[in-house]
């Protein structure tokens, strides 16, 4: 490069010595400051921690038996009753449950207004699930005063003004009603500002969960409306049958854009998918709660049938530790890890949150398309979400650590 002669050399404002003294100037500035103790505490960081704790140590404050709806609402609080992290109506918490030598996670939508958190309360509702592992044990075993470890509020099933239409048609089935109760209460309390028309499918009238609560909110809050749809009982004042495109159109606002939110069991989702397609909504106006991982992976497209029913071995590594554990092809890898009593992270158990992200060092797994939400590089470099990956061979797996 040709040497330039910058005209600034003639500029009286420029002092060539200044460069040589830069370090000295800096040292002087440092030495002039007081040698006081360094504080590593910053309000913004404290706020972030309070809103997103590693875990919450809670106790059961009270229990509401939902009778024929076969469910219980557990109201949870901190031991000292202090406020809980605020949340967005529709979010869930993930409980970390020590059950029979395992640590298992189960997520439950918060079914209370975000205002409850300020008063130090969260509410979740657990519905009976015969044949399941955790739900019935919770219903039978969890008593007032019992400790519960929980994650902070999670998930993306909430109203977002910049994205959603001003009017939402909610489609709920069974225990999928829980986030909608929270949304309805939030509207009632002025925390959220949109209109919600809820189509709620239940088997029969006596089976309707939160019947009184929902009707009461609808009575006092003009922005909320609930329509009960009964599949096994024909009765005045109720819709009969299943939720269909026709029914949605009947109750949706006319001539106005609306969003559809769906939360219900897998069967309901499969039934409603083509119905919702008939509405011709753009993708942005349709939100659904996560799809649980299938119990029958062999029914999924692409499943290697020869793996079905087989037993495998997983070598699990976590930091400096190592275990060899048994696994069944019919259960997600995460379940095998939990059965072995290993504390490994998970939250949504549906492939979405990425909390369980682990490195697959050897072996193969099957991942149902509905739960495939990994990052590009994770797919490319062999990271899996064990919550929705079924082993199809022996594996070597490196799982992340835990914080409790």
């Amino acid at each position: 490069m040709a040497k330039l002669n910058v005209t600034i050399s003639a500029d009286p404002r420029i002092d060539m010595m200044k460069f040589a003294t830069m370090a000295k100037v800096r040292e002087e500035a440092i030495q002039a400051a007081p040698a006081k103790e360094v504080s590593g505490v910053f309000p913004i960081n404290e706020n972030a921690k309070a809103l997103h704790p590693d875990y919450l140590d809670l106790v059961v404050d009270s229990i509401i038996d939902r009778g024929e709806a076969q469910a219980k609402t557990f109201v949870l609080r901190r031991k000292d009753g202090a406020p809980l992290p605020y949340f967005r109506a529709g979010q869930y918490i993930s409980l970390k449950l020590p059950l029979e030598g395992s640590f298992v996670t189960r997520s439950y939508s918060l079914c209370c207004s975000p205002k409850a958190a300020l008063e130090g309360k969260y509410a979740i509702t657990v519905r009976a699930n015969p044949g399941g592992f955790a739900a019935d044990r919770l219903l039978a075993g969890l008593k007032v005063g019992d400790p519960v470890i929980s994650s902070g509020p999670q998930g993306f099933f909430y109203y977002e003004k910049l994205r959603d239409a001003k009017h939402v048609v909610g489609l709920a089935g069974g225990s999928g009603i829980t986030p909608f109760l929270s949304l309805a209460e939030a509207i009632r309390d002025g925390v959220e500002n949109f209109s919600l028309t809820l189509l709620f499918g239940s088997r029969d009238e006596k089976n309707i969960l939160f019947r009184e609560e929902l009707d009461e909110i609808a009575r006092v809050c003009p922005k909320f409306k609930v329509v009960h749809v009964l599949s096994e009982e024909e009765k005045e004042g109720f819709e009969y049958g299943f939720i269909t495109a026709e029914l949605i159109k009947k109750y949706a606002p006319e001539g106005e854009e609306f969003s559809v939110y769906l939360c219900g069991p897998e069967a309901m989702y499969r039934f409603l998918k083509p119905e919702i397609e008939k509405l011709g909504l753009p993708e942005r106006l349709f939100r659904r709660k996560l799809i649980d991982v299938t119990k029958t992976p062999w029914d999924c497209e692409g499943y290697p049938q020869e793996a079905r029913g087989r037993s495998f071995t997983i070598l699990v590594r976590q930091g400096p530790q190592e275990w060899t554990i048994p696994a069944s092809a019919d259960e997600p890898v995460l379940v095998a890890v939990e059965r072995a009593g290993i504390k490994a992270p998970s939250r949504c158990r549906a492939g979405e949150c990425g909390w369980c992200r682990s490195r697959l060092l050897s072996g193969t797994v099957f991942i149902p398309q509905d739960n495939e939400m990994r990052r590009w590089a994770d797919v490319h470099y062999g990271y899996i979400h064990p919550c929705c990956s079924f082993p199809t061979s022996d594996l070597t797996l490196e799982v992340p650590g835990e914080f409790f």
Binding site: V38, G354, H380
Partner: protein, 517 residues
């Protein structure tokens, strides 16, 4: 529990680079990261059918194969392979000149093209601009020389080969622009980049600014085809290949000392013994919360007090996944700066006064640089601005979600007014990240991803010259954006590498002294 030569705490850009360098040097290295994935700011998240890079707009100093920058060379040395994509033009800036007239300029990459375009916007500026770029080049060479000398440059070489760097190096960018008598509108257009360093032109050292602008214009800017998570994962997997261990969800809680030597780390996965720690953590956090108070050296206490929490780059961002193409919205530029004015000290002050006064934003449309970054028929866009403690320190949780939405609403209205881009009715997914979010995920003070402001006396060159003094704790060096090279992917990676080399020297020295190791 195995014992390691080095534990690198934090797999941010600096940590990953340091870990790779240590392992290449033959040191038995453990990399621990408190999250379950690597990268720190260099990461991605998935929403619906989109994968989003939350931080990288423009990777500085990668460069094409025939003009490689430090990052390209470093990746080659490390054996890390990833899909880098060149961004194309430097920037578009829509704002107001200091003389009050509206500004709408688009500056291309490539020094000649940049100078030509400047001549087009500011006729008669060619000669001064050419001089300025020559000066940039010399500054860049000088910094490379000083870096190679590890803070011990030969004064004679500096005085002859890098005389112009010496002349300008200690001054603010504004002072050098004035001394060069650069036309005001040129200055205004050039000032656009100030926000990448977070210090306005009157307090930003020329040397730092010069190095950055020269690298962006001469070597172009890059992003990753599959988000920064691609790069982070590639780095970590290469580190494993070289024999390094990586533990995710492993958080350093405390640094352990034997006498005055750091000799281990207490984590949620147990105590790890080692001879040296490189911590990708801000020094205030280390000294204030992670080690015995009585072992924090006097000088580091003074340094912290002198910096007085001048944290840089408290990010406040929003990401939009849109159900239409960029073309349909009329978007043709990758990066559009939208400052209220070209007067950077005013912009800085307004940002610090909070969202009510803050009119600064950067708008990116990733598909312009990387057409396949989102599914066909869609596009990915994002806003970046800065938060102020005025807004975010005392904000209540119950007001948080609404508050962060309102600020972005304001930026959306500004975008519509100034550029006619109307995103409403197209937003399929949206995520808003505030300084709280960055504080949560990175652990950085106040969500500031630029470390300390490289302001006035604490500029990059002054820090570089004092590396020998700034690390008085035996066996523990902080690395990252708060280090001598300042913020950004490139600077953090270079810092990680530099400190790894320093650690090796320390270890050798102690061994010779018959002490530790």
């Amino acid at each position: 529990m195995p014992k390691y030569d080095i534990v690198v705490v934090g797999a941010g850009n600096a940590g990953m680079s340091a870990a790779l360098q240590c392992q290449l040097l033959g040191l038995k290295t453990l990399l621990i990261e408190k999250h379950n994935l690597p990268g720190g700011a260099a990461t991605s998240f998935v929403r619906g059918r989109f994968e989003i890079d939350p931080s990288l707009h423009e990777l500085c100093d990668y460069g094409p194969a025939d003009n490689p920058g430090d990052v390209r060379t470093m990746m080659a040395d490390y054996g890390v392979k990833a899909n880098f994509i060149e961004v194309g033009e430097c920037f578009r800036c829509v704002s107001t000149y200091r003389d009050g007239t509206p500004m709408d300029v688009t500056m291309p990459a490539g020094i000649e093209a940049f100078i030509d375009k400047m001549e087009f916007y500011v006729p008669g500026s060619r000669e001064k601009m050419t001089q300025l770029f020559d000066l940039f080049q010399e500054v860049l060479d000088g910094i490379a020389y000083i870096t190679a000398s590890r803070g011990n440059p030969d004064k004679a070489v500096l005085g002859t080969t890098y005389a112009n760097m010496l002349k300008t190096g200690a001054y603010s960018t504004q002072e050098v622009f004035d001394a060069l008598e650069l036309p005001e509108r040129c200055q205004d257009i050039l000032s656009t980049y100030w926000s990448y360093l977070g210090v306005d032109m009157e307090h930003l050292a020329f040397i730092h600014y010069a190095a950055m602008v020269h690298k962006y214009t001469s070597r172009g800017a890059y992003i990753l085809k599959h988000t920064s998570h691609e790069l982070a994962t590639a780095m970590v997997e290469r580190f494993r290949e070289l024999g390094g261990d990586v533990w995710f969800n492993c958080r350093a809680e405390e640094f352990l000392f034997r006498g005055e030597h750091c000799c281990g780390v207490r984590t949620n996965m147990g105590v790890v013994d080692c001879n040296y720690v490189l911590a990708n953590i801000n020094p205030d956090i280390i000294y204030g919360t992670m080690m015995p108070k009585e072992l924090v050296p006097e000088r580091e206490k003074k340094l912290s007090a002198a910096r007085d929490r001048k944290i840089g780059g408290r990010m406040y961002t929003a990401y939009f996944c849109l159900d239409c193409t960029a073309e349909e919205l009329g978007i043709h530029d990758y990066t559009i700066f939208l400052p209220g004015t070209a007067d950077s000290p005013t912009e800085y002050d307004n940002i610090m006064k909070g969202m009510k006064y803050n009119n600064f934003s950067i708008f990116n449309c990733y598909n312009i640089a990387n057409p396949e970054c989102s599914p066909p028929g869609t596009c990915l866009c994002g806003f970046t601005t800065f938060g102020s403690p005025v807004d975010w320190n005392d904000l209540k949780q119950e007001d948080y979600f609404r508050f962060k939405e309102e600020g972005i609403d304001k930026l959306l209205a500004n975008l519509k007014e100034k550029l006619g881009f109307d995103l409403s009715g197209h937003i399929e997914e949206i995520e808003i990240c505030s300084p709280w979010t960055f504080a949560r995920y990175l652990g950085v003070p106040e969500g500031g991803v630029y470390g300390y402001e490289p302001r006035d006396w604490d500029g990059m060159m002054a820090r570089m010259q004092m590396i020998a003094y700034d690390y008085p704790i035996k066996g523990l060096r902080p690395i990252g954006a708060a280090g001598p090279r300042g913020d950004g992917y490139a600077a953090s990676m270079i810092c990680g590498r530099l400190m790894a080399l320093n650690a090796l020297l320390d270890l050798k020295k102690w061994k010779e002294e018959g002490g530790k190791a």
